[in-house]
C-alpha cells in the first residue's frame, strides 16, 4: 500500500530531523579524573590544585565558624556593651602571627607555612571538645551541633592538607625541610593546657573565627607568592 509507505517515510523523516536537532547538543567533552598517586589515565594534582583545594577548605571552615559565632552572639550576648567588656583572650595568642600585609609578606614561606600549621594544630583539641560539649547541651539545635562537628573535622582535614602542600613544596624545593619538625602537637600547644578549657564557648568561637581567617589569608598569600599566575 502506497499509503503505508508514505506514512513510514514521513515518520522516518521526522525522526531524522529530531535526531539531527539534538545531536548537536549531545556532544560533550568529558573531564579527566583526578588522581593523587599518579595513576595511569588521570592527571596528577599540581601544586596549584593542592593550594586551591586547601584554600577552599579553609574558606569553608571560616564560613562555618562565622555562622556559629553569629548564632552564639545572637542568643547569648544580646547586649553589645557586655561584649565590649569581655576579655577575649585566645589560647593561640602566644603564637606569633603577622597582623598586617607587610608583616605577612615579610615572613618567609617556611615561616608562613609553620604559622599556618601551628594554628591548625592548636585548634584541633579545643574544637573537638567544643563539639562534644555542644552535642550534650540541649540549648543548641542539631544544626549547630552538626556545624560544630563539621568544623572540628575540617580543622583536622585542613591540617593534613596543608601538610601535604608543605611536602609538595619541600619536594619541589620551594621551602626547606624544617617545617615537618614543627608538626608535633606537643611542641605547639602551650604548657598550660587548662587555659583553653576555661574558655567559654563564645570566646572559643570568637577566637576560632579569627584564626580561621588568618589561616585562609596566609594560605592565599603563600599561594600567590609561590604561584603568582593563578588567580592572583
Amino acid at each position: 500500500l502506497p499509503s503505508s509507505f508514505l506514512c513510514v517515510t514521513v515518520s522516518a523523516v521526522w525522526v531524522g530531523l529530531v535526531c539531527l536537532l539534538f545531536y548537536s547538543r549531545l556532544v560533550r567533552v568529558g573531564a579527566a579524573p583526578i588522581c593523587t598517586n599518579g595513576q595511569a589515565g588521570c592527571h596528577i594534582l599540581s601544586l596549584a590544585d593542592l593550594f586551591d583545594r586547601v584554600i577552599q577548605h579553609s574558606a569553608r571552615m571560616h564560613g562555618i565558624s562565622s555562622d556559629l559565632h553569629s548564632e552564639f552572639e545572637q542568643y547569648f550576648f544580646p547586649s553589645k556593651n557586655h561584649i565590649g567588656r569581655v576579655n577575649r583572650i585566645c589560647h593561640t595568642s602566644t603564637i606569633l602571627t603577622p597582623n598586617g600585609k607587610e608583616n605577612a609578606q615579610r615572613l618567609a614561606r617556611e615561616e608562613l607555612t609553620e604559622v599556618i600549621l601551628k594554628l591548625l594544630v592548636a585548634w584541633r583539641d579545643p574544637l573537638w571538645h567544643f563539639q562534644q560539649s555542644i552535642a550534650h547541651h540541649h540549648d543548641f539545635n542539631n544544626f549547630s551541633s552538626n556545624k560544630a562537628l563539621e568544623m572540628s573535622d575540617m580543622v583536622h582535614e585542613l591540617r593534613k592538607g596543608v601538610e601535604k602542600v608543605a611536602e609538595k613544596m619541600q619536594m619541589l624545593g620551594i621551602i626547606s625541610n624544617s617545617v615537618n619538625s614543627l608538626t608535633s602537637p606537643e611542641a605547639l600547644i602551650p604548657s598550660d593546657r587548662a587555659e583553653w578549657r576555661l574558655m567559654k564557648d563564645y570566646v572559643l568561637l570568637y577566637c576560632f573565627r579569627r584564626d580561621s581567617n588568618k589561616v585562609q589569608n596566609y594560605l592565599k598569600i603563600l599561594k600567590c607568592r609561590i604561584i603568582p599566575q593563578h588567580e592572583c
Binding site: P2, K220, I221, C224
Partner: protein, 649 residues
C-alpha cells in the same frame, strides 16, 4: 501707684527669664560613631555623628584601645577623611586586632562620650568600585555577545593574595526597569549572550571581598548591539521549510498514486456486464441511449415496421440428399444472423441463437449448453429470451425423445436452443401469444429433422407457449408438419420443431453438411417465401399442398413462392428460387419447389460459405392439406425453406 509698683518686679522677672533661655549652655550631646570602613584592609576610617553642641564650641576626639591593651590612643588623623572622621593609616592599623573606639565631644561645659564600638578591620572592608569597566561587542557563531571586562579598585591588593575580591555586574536594556545581575566570581571578565538585536545596554560592576561589604556600583557603561539575525530562528525556519518540502513531495506522490490508493481503499464495484450495455453512456448520464442500445431495433415492433414481424425460427428442413444444402443454408443463415447482429464482441453477452457459431458448436443435448444459452438469453434481459428459454427447455425434452439417432458421428452435436420455436396451434391462436414475445427476435427457424412422418411423436409444443408474437401481426413461418398426410382435413398443426439434436459440424459446414446424412427425413411441409418485407426479412409462409397440387386449391394468395433456395451468391446473398413447377420426388411425397429467381438480399445472409445450395423442401403430402387461411399466414405445404432468417435491426 501701688499697682504699678507691684507689676514691675513681675515684668522684670519675665524679662530675665527670657534672657536666661537664650544664653543657656550645656555640655555637648553624645556623639555617635556611625561607621568604620577599610577600603583595602590596610587602612580604615571611622565617622561619627556629633550630638548637640550645647551652644558652645565643641571639640571631638576619638580614642581607641587595642585588644588586650589598656593603652589609649587618639585618632592620628582627623582631616584626611573629612569632617567628623578619623583616618587610621597603615602604621596604625593592625589586622585581626580588635579596636575599641570611642568618640568624645567636649565643650566648655563638659564632655560627652559616645558608646564604644569594637572594630576588627578584617570585617569592615568595603572596597572601591571596580575600575576601567569596558564593554565590547564580540561575534560568535550563534550571534553577537557582550564582553565586559574591568579591573579591581586601585588600592585593593589582589595580586599578593592579601585581599580576594568577587565581582558582580548588572545589565539592562535602555528603558527597562529591572536589572539583570550576574555573579562573576573572581574573574575580571564576563560574557553576556542572548542580546536583542539593535538594543542599547547599560552595564555596571561592583565588587566585594570574601568577608566584607559590597562596593558601590561603577558608573554606567553604555553599549549598543548591532542588528543581526538570530540563529535560532533561522534554524527553525530551515527546519520548517525542509519539512514543508517533504510534505509537498509526499502529497504529490500521493496524488500520483491516488488511483492505486483508491483502488486499494475503495475497490471498484463490479459493473454490469450486459451485452450492449455501454457504461460510458451510462456515466454520461444519458440513460435513454443506454437503454436504447439494448433495445433491438425491431423489437418492440413499431408501427413503421412491417406489419408482420418476423419471428425467426430455425427451421431445418430435413432431406436426405439435400440435407447438407439445407444445413448449409441454415449455417449461412446462422452466420448471417451472426453478422447482422453487429453486436459487440462481449463474450458474455447474450446472443440470439443464430448469432454465434459457438452456439452451434456446443454439445448436444446437454443442459449446460442450454443453460448457457439460457443464461445468455437471460442476460439479454428480455423476457422473450427467457420465455424462449423456457420453451427450449421444454422443447428439449421433447426433442430428445423424438429425435432419432442424430448422426453423432459427425462432429459435434449441436444444440440449437433457439430451435424450439413453439408454435403450437398457432393457426388457432395466432394472436394469443403476443404477450410472450415482445420483440421480433431472431429465431432461427429450425425444424428438426423428423423421422418419417409416421412418427407422430413430433414435437408438439405447448400451445400456450406459442411464440409470443409482437403486436398483432407477426409472421413466422412454420414448418407445418403434416403427420397425417392422408388427412387433409386434419388441422395442420404447426409445429416448430426444435432442432436440438442435430449434427452439424461447424468447422466445416460444407463438408459436414455434405456428409450429413440425416435419417430419413421427411419434410412435412414446405415453406413458401411470402415476401420480403421492408426490413429485408424473408417472410416465409408455408405452402399448402394444395398449392402443389394440381388440382388443389392454391391457397397462396400473396406473393410468390420463394421456397427454394437457389444458392448463395458471391455477395453472400441467399438466392431463393421460385419454382414454378412442382416436382415430385420419388422418395417422398410430393415435393414442390418453386423456382424463385428473385434475389433476396439479406444482410444476415452474409455468410462465408458460398456453397450453392439449394434448399429444397421436402414435399409433404400436399394432398389434402388444407389449412384455413390465417390472417397472417398462408401456409403452404410446398416445402421448407431451411433458412435462418434474421431480422435486420
Amino acid at each position: 501707684m501701688r499697682r504699678a509698683v507691684g507689676s514691675v518686679p513681675l515684668l522684670l522677672m519675665l524679662f530675665f527669664i527670657g534672657h536666661a533661655k537664650e544664653t543657656r549652655y550645656s555640655p555637648p550631646g553624645k556623639p555617635k560613631l556611625t561607621s568604620c570602613r577599610s577600603p583595602e584592609k590596610e587602612t580604615f576610617t571611622c565617622w561619627w555623628e556629633p550630638g548637640s553642641d550645647g551652644g558652645l564650641p565643641t571639640t571631638y576626639a576619638l580614642y581607641y584601645r587595642k585588644e588586650n591593651s589598656d593603652a589609649v590612643y587618639e585618632c592620628p588623623d582627623y582631616h584626611t577623611a573629612g569632617e567628623n572622621s578619623c583616618f587610621f593609616n597603615k602604621n596604625d592599623t593592625s589586622i585581626w586586632v580588635n579596636y575599641n573606639i570611642t568618640v568624645v565631644a567636649t565643650n566648655a561645659l563638659g564632655s560627652n562620650f559616645s558608646d564604644p564600638v569594637d572594630v576588627d578591620v578584617v570585617y569592615i572592608v568595603q572596597p572601591h568600585t571596580p575600575e576601567n569597566v569596558t564593554v565590547t561587542v564580540m561575534e560568535d557563531k550563534d550571534g553577537p555577545f557582550l564582553r565586559v571586562s574591568w579591573e579591581p579598585p586601585r588600592k585593593a591588593d589582589t595580586r599578593s593574595g592579601w585581599i580576594t575580591l568577587i565581582y558582580e555586574l548588572r545589565v539592562k536594556l535602555e528603558g527597562e526597569e529591572e536589572w539583570e545581575e550576574h555573579r562573576a566570581g573572581q574573574q575580571k571578565m564576563f560574557n553576556i549572550f542572548s542580546l536583542r538585536s539593535g538594543g542599547m545596554y547599560l552595564v555596571q560592576v561592583r565588587c566585594k571581598p570574601d568577608h566584607g561589604f559590597w562596593s558601590e556600583w561603577s558608573s554606567t557603561t553604555y553599549i549598543k548591539v548591532p542588528d543581526y539575525f538570530p540563529r535560532e530562528t533561522s534554524v527553525w525556519i530551515l527546519i520548517a521549510v525542509f519539512s514543508a518540502f517533504i510534505f509537498f513531495i509526499l502529497t504529490w506522490i500521493l496524488n500520483l498514486k491516488s488511483n492505486s490508493v483508491k483502488h486499494c481503499l475503495l475497490p471498484p464495484v463490479p459493473g454490469p456486464k450486459i451485452k450492449g450495455f455501454d457504461k460510458q453512456l451510462l456515466k454520461n448520464g444519458r440513460s435513454e441511449e443506454v437503454f436504447s442500445a439494448l433495445v433491438v431495433p425491431g423489437f418492440p415492433p413499431t408501427t413503421s415496421s412491417d406489419c408482420e414481424d418476423l419471428l425467426v425460427e430455425y427451421l431445418e428442413v430435413y432431406t436426405p440428399e439435400e440435407q447438407e444444402l439445407i444445413l448449409e443454408e441454415g449455417k449461412d443463415l446462422q452466420e448471417g444472423c451472426l453478422k447482422s447482429k453487429g453486436s459487440p464482441s462481449d463474450s458474455d453477452s447474450g446472443r440470439g441463437s443464430c448469432d454465434s457459431h459457438t452456439l452451434l458448436m456446443e454439445k448436444c443435448g446437454e443442459g449446460e449448453g442450454k443453460e448457457e444459452k439460457h443464461q445468455e438469453r437471460a442476460q439479454k434481459g428480455k423476457r422473450q429470451q427467457k420465455h424462449q428459454t423456457g420453451w427450449e427447455e421444454g422443447d428439449v425434452s421433447h426433442t430428445r425423445e423424438d429425435v432419432l439417432s442424430p448422426d453423432m458421428s459427425e462432429g459435434r452435436v449441436k444444440t440449437w436452443p433457439s430451435v424450439f420455436s413453439p408454435l403450437p396451434q398457432y393457426s388457432s391462436r395466432p394472436l394469443d401469444h403476443q404477450g410472450s414475445l415482445e420483440t421480433a427476435r431472431q429465431l432461427c427457424l429450425s425444424d428438426s429433422l423428423f423421422p418419417p412422418p409416421s412418427t407422430s411423436s413430433h414435437l408438439s409444443y405447448n400451445a400456450k407457449e406459442g411464440l409470443a408474437l409482437g403486436s398483432g401481426q407477426q409472421e413466422f413461418y412454420l414448418g407445418k408438419k403434416q403427420t397425417h398426410p392422408s388427412n387433409p382435413q386434419s388441422q395442420p398443426r404447426w409445429h416448430l420443431q426444435a432442432h436440438s439434436d442435430f449434427n452439424i459440424s461447424s468447422m466445416d459446414r460444407k463438408q459436414a453438411a455434405s456428409g450429413l446424412q440425416l435419417p430419413g427425413f421427411r419434410s412435412t411441409e414446405y415453406v413458401e417465401v411470402q415476401r420480403v418485407n421492408q426490413e429485408d426479412m424473408v417472410i416465409l409462409q408455408p405452402l399448402f399442398s394444395s398449392s402443389c397440387q394440381r388440382d388443389g386449391h392454391l391457397q397462396i394468395g400473396q406473393g410468390e413462392d420463394y421456397s427454394k433456395v437457389k444458392g448463395v451468391d458471391s455477395g453472400n446473398m441467399l438466392l431463393l428460387q421460385r419454382e414454378v413447377e412442382v416436382k415430385r420426388e420419388e422418395e417422398d411425397g410430393d415435393r414442390y419447389s418453386c423456382d424463385i429467381q428473385d434475389r433476396v438480399t439479406e444482410s444476415c445472409y452474409t455468410t462465408s460459405t458460398a456453397a450453392s445450395s439449394q434448399v429444397t423442401g421436402k414435399p409433404t403430402s400436399c394432398a389434402g392439406t388444407a389449412m384455413p387461411v390465417q390472417e397472417e399466414m398462408v401456409l403452404a405445404a410446398n416445402g421448407y425453406v431451411d433458412q435462418n432468417i434474421t431480422s435486420v435491426h
